[in-house]
């Protein structure tokens, strides 16, 4: 099938402002949007620039705005979108070139919530015990692939780029609710600020954007509840 791709492009070495470029591509209905982008790059215009790696929704490289929604280009099929397909870089991050955005700030926020198990007790010789129920408590938030789709879909983040954002909160949740972790108080203190968890206005854009199906707003609500009941 033929599809019209409308791609927002910007090359800082050449362009003064972003512009829309249009390409007609020949694709199979079961092709991914990533296949259509690669068709453009490999057959029409080698300067088109985007990140991609695993191409099946695990590595998190190719989050972008597709027909107005944050999606992974490798997890959306062309047949589900029809034509035209519009593709833009994620909103709220500086554009490096075309669909490539600068994610340093995003990862800095991830690092800020201490995303590692905090527990100074001497571990046993074998595994620490954890019941299947305790393990299930934080299962949902272990799925995060740090693609940035949730944070850049969040109006609170668009309004203030200093907001720590849903992705960082999701990753804090993953440790706060892990029975083996002892760092909940530290993390909750980091999140208990105006630009922390309280900036979430429960708009649910993040839930819709998450390509891993994580119930992001629920995770954020659980962190808020932990704060309310922890007395901090």
């Amino acid at each position: 099938m033929r599809v019209l791709m409308k791609i927002k492009r910007f090359n800082p070495e050449r362009d003064r402002a972003p512009y829309w470029a249009e390409y007609e591509v020949e694709v199979e209905p079961v092709d991914r949007v990533l296949d259509a982008l690669e068709y453009v790059k490999w057959h029409l215009d080698g300067t088109l620039t985007f990140r991609r790696s695993c191409a099946h929704g695990i590595c998190g490289s190719d989050a972008m705005l597709i027909n107005g929604r944050n999606r992974l280009a490798c997890k959306v099929l062309v047949k589900d979108l029809g034509s035209p397909i519009t593709v833009e870089p994620l909103r709220g991050f500086p554009v490096v070139k075309d669909l490539v955005v600068d994610m340093e700030g995003f990862f800095a926020k991830y690092r800020a919530i201490k995303p590692y198990l905090i527990n100074d007790e001497l571990p046993p010789e074998t595994e620490r015990r954890q019941s299947p129920e305790e393990r299930a408590r934080f299962d949902d938030t272990t799925k995060c692939i740090l693609c940035g789709a949730c944070t850049t879909a969040c109006p609170s983040f668009w309004a203030n780029g200093e907001y720590i954002g849903p992705a960082a909160i999701v990753n804090a949740h993953r440790f706060i609710f892990d029975s083996r972790d002892r760092g909940a108080a530290e993390r909750l203190a980091i999140l208990n600020t105006r630009l922390g968890v309280w900036r979430c206005r429960t708009i649910f854009n993040c839930v819709e954007a998450c390509p891993r199906g994580i119930d992001v707003t629920r995770a954020i609500a659980e962190v808020k509840r932990a704060l309310l009941f922890s007395g901090t």
Binding site: G46, L117, R135
Partner: protein
């Protein structure tokens, strides 16, 4: 302007092997840098699904000796048994270590790490399948990669993200660092180092149907070859039996570990005829070959080149709880609900058993006498220790990256303490700069994408699961032509900022070199062993070929040498499952 950095240790690649090594080195020196062409946690370790093998014995009796036997037998007796012994012993501590670092393994009712069955893993030296693969649903690799990266954050390891390695600085058998291209601004960076570890992963992108990420183009392996290091056992490339038809996306062996069955067009469980004991859990080389035999005899689904992976009898609960990601893949890419319908699958290029030869300390060796290159290390899929021999068992890639990432890191830390910075070569970044310039200014009419498509299609046809002399010779001629055309490419993007057009051209250069070594090595090995199956020499020939290949390239010509296999506990016998 080229920037020069100085680090005690530079690690190239941020997958499991690279990060595990970085954590080990970081205990000895803060001056360690990880250089990766991807952002952290984008590496391909993250796509590993089913589990990591370790004889914890949490769900039934198990012993590392059994794991070792399975690995050696799975390798078709080509693995070095001293290395396999270390791997299977150390696997246990490595899994506990991950758990202590917070990896969210699935749990047994008593709260221990849960384990499942996997291909080729057996109890009591081959009696029946054993539960050995420790798992976190079907995203075990994702959790391993995240856990290791989290520990790197905790220990403040320094990262150079989206830096593409271009050259290895090696003179007088002493490694002095690397050269890398910063994608963000197109500048070259020299990393002057006492020790360098390559953990750059595999090169499945030389084949058309592959489970491998776009980024798996064998950069480190090809650079080592170009710098005079031989490559070991490159003829052995694993095809995983269950890739999604046409797409190659992996459906984990865990699907069969949980009870999934392969069926042909008649609905027959054909593995009963080929491997009566282990059935659908026979090793991957055997199942992939059997699938092609079924297809050749017209028993593919609708007579086409695929078969069915049937999970429907497992029930919704098992499928959705234990295999959530692959369920999602089937629904997303095929519109199929595996609870109700079988999944169309075909073998997919998956894993390079061969690579940069190393000893058990991760030191790169340069000849059949195991002479180490000072300060140069390799670990993970890019390396060949060899623990996988002619065919890797499922879960053992994760074991390999952790155990040998750790051991290589440990040896590096020791080496760094006693070594000085060897001087950089004159014009250290000269060759890398010239290569980039040549690609950017090359003014022919050839397209990188078209050359790559031809390479992938032809390799799939002539150097995949079944091989013949005629096919391999034709492939060599094709490669000669492709390399000639590669000199006449034209890039459209001539810019400096995030030039992925240039990056893809560099990567194609690596793939062409590695495809050539693969074919040269495969042509020479006139026997069938593990993943290397020669239709014109269908039997294993221990008298002639129980040895490792070392392929050197000198002035564009290949020279093959061989080195003996280390055999300690298990004498080679015929492989039956």
């Amino acid at each position: 302007m080229t920037t020069v950095h100085r680090y005690d240790a530079v690690i190239v690649g941020a997958g499991g092997a690279g990060l595990r090594a970085a954590l080990e080195v970081a205990q000895a020196t803060p001056r360690v840098a990880v250089v990766s062409k991807l952002y952290p946690i984008r590496s391909h370790t993250g796509t590993a699904q089913g589990g990591i093998g370790a004889a914890l014995g949490n769900m039934e009796e198990d012993h590392w000796e059994w794991h070792m036997f399975d690995t050696v037998k799975g390798s078709d007796y080509l693995a070095d048994q001293d290395a396999v012994e270390i791997m299977c012993q150390e696997a246990i501590a490595c899994v506990y270590e991950l758990e202590h670092w917070g990896l969210p393994f699935d749990r047994t009712p008593e709260g221990k790490i849960a384990q499942r069955r996997f291909g080729g893993h057996t109890r009591n030296f081959g009696e029946a399948p054993v539960r050995r693969a420790c798992h976190a649903a079907d995203r075990t690799g994702h959790m391993i990669l995240q856990t290791l990266y989290q520990q790197c954050i905790k220990h403040e390891v320094q990262f150079f993200n989206e830096f593409h390695v271009l050259d290895l600085l090696l003179e007088d058998n002493i490694c002095r660092g690397i050269v890398a291209l910063s994608l963000a601004d197109g500048e070259l960076h020299v990393f002057h180092a006492k020790a360098v570890l390559f953990a750059t992963g595999g090169f499945g992108r030389m084949y058309k149907v592959t489970s491998n990420a776009r980024s798996l183009t064998g950069d480190g392996v090809a650079i080592a070859l170009r710098r005079g290091i031989p490559l070991e056992d490159m003829e052995f490339f694993q095809f995983h039996p269950t890739g999604i038809y046409k797409l190659g996306i992996l459906i984990s062996e865990a699907a069969r570990g949980e009870g999934g069955i392969l069926r042909n067009r008649q609905g027959e469980r054909f593995m009963e005829r080929y491997a009566p004991t282990l059935l659908d859990l026979a090793p991957r080389d055997i199942i992939s070959r059997c699938m092609y035999m079924e297809i050749r005899e017209g028993r593919g689904i609708e007579g086409k080149d695929y078969l069915h992976l049937d999970l429907t009898h497992l029930g919704r609960e098992v499928i959705e709880k234990k295999l959530p990601d692959i369920t999602d893949f089937a629904r997303t890419y095929l519109g199929i609900d595996p609870v109700r319908e079988p999944i169309p699958v075909q073998p997919t290029a998956h894993y390079a058993m061969g690579g940069i030869p190393t000893d058990v300390h991760g030191r790169v060796i340069r000849d059949e006498k195991n002479t180490p290159v000072l300060g140069f290390y390799a670990a993970g899929e890019c390396a060949c220790v060899s623990v996988h021999g002619a065919n890797r068992l499922g879960t053992n890639s994760l074991v390999d990256i952790l155990v040998f990432g750790k051991l290589a890191g440990r040896h590096m830390a020791e080496y760094i303490r006693g070594a000085d910075f060897a001087p950089l070569p004159k014009d250290a970044d000269g060759p890398a700069r010239e290569e980039c310039e040549r690609l950017l200014t090359s003014n022919g009419a050839e397209s990188v994408a078209r050359l790559r498509e031809t390479l992938q299609r032809e390799m799939m046809d002539k150097a995949a699961v079944f091989r013949t002399r005629e096919g391999l010779e034709a492939m060599l001629a094709t490669l000669k032509e492709l390399k000639d055309r590669y000199r006449r490419i034209r890039l459209q993007d001539k810019g400096k900022i995030f030039n992925t057009d240039l990056q893809e051209a560099l990567e194609l250069g690596y793939l062409l070199d590695l495809a050539e070594v693969t074919v040269v090595s495969a042509l020479a090995r006139r026997e069938s062993r593990g993943a290397h199956y020669r239709e014109d020499f269908p039997k294993r020939d221990d008298a002639q070929w129980l040895k490792h290949t070392l392929a050197y390239r000198l002035n564009g010509e290949y020279e093959l040498r061989y080195k003996p296999v280390v055999i300690t506990r298990f004498q080679p016998v015929e492989r039956k499952y």
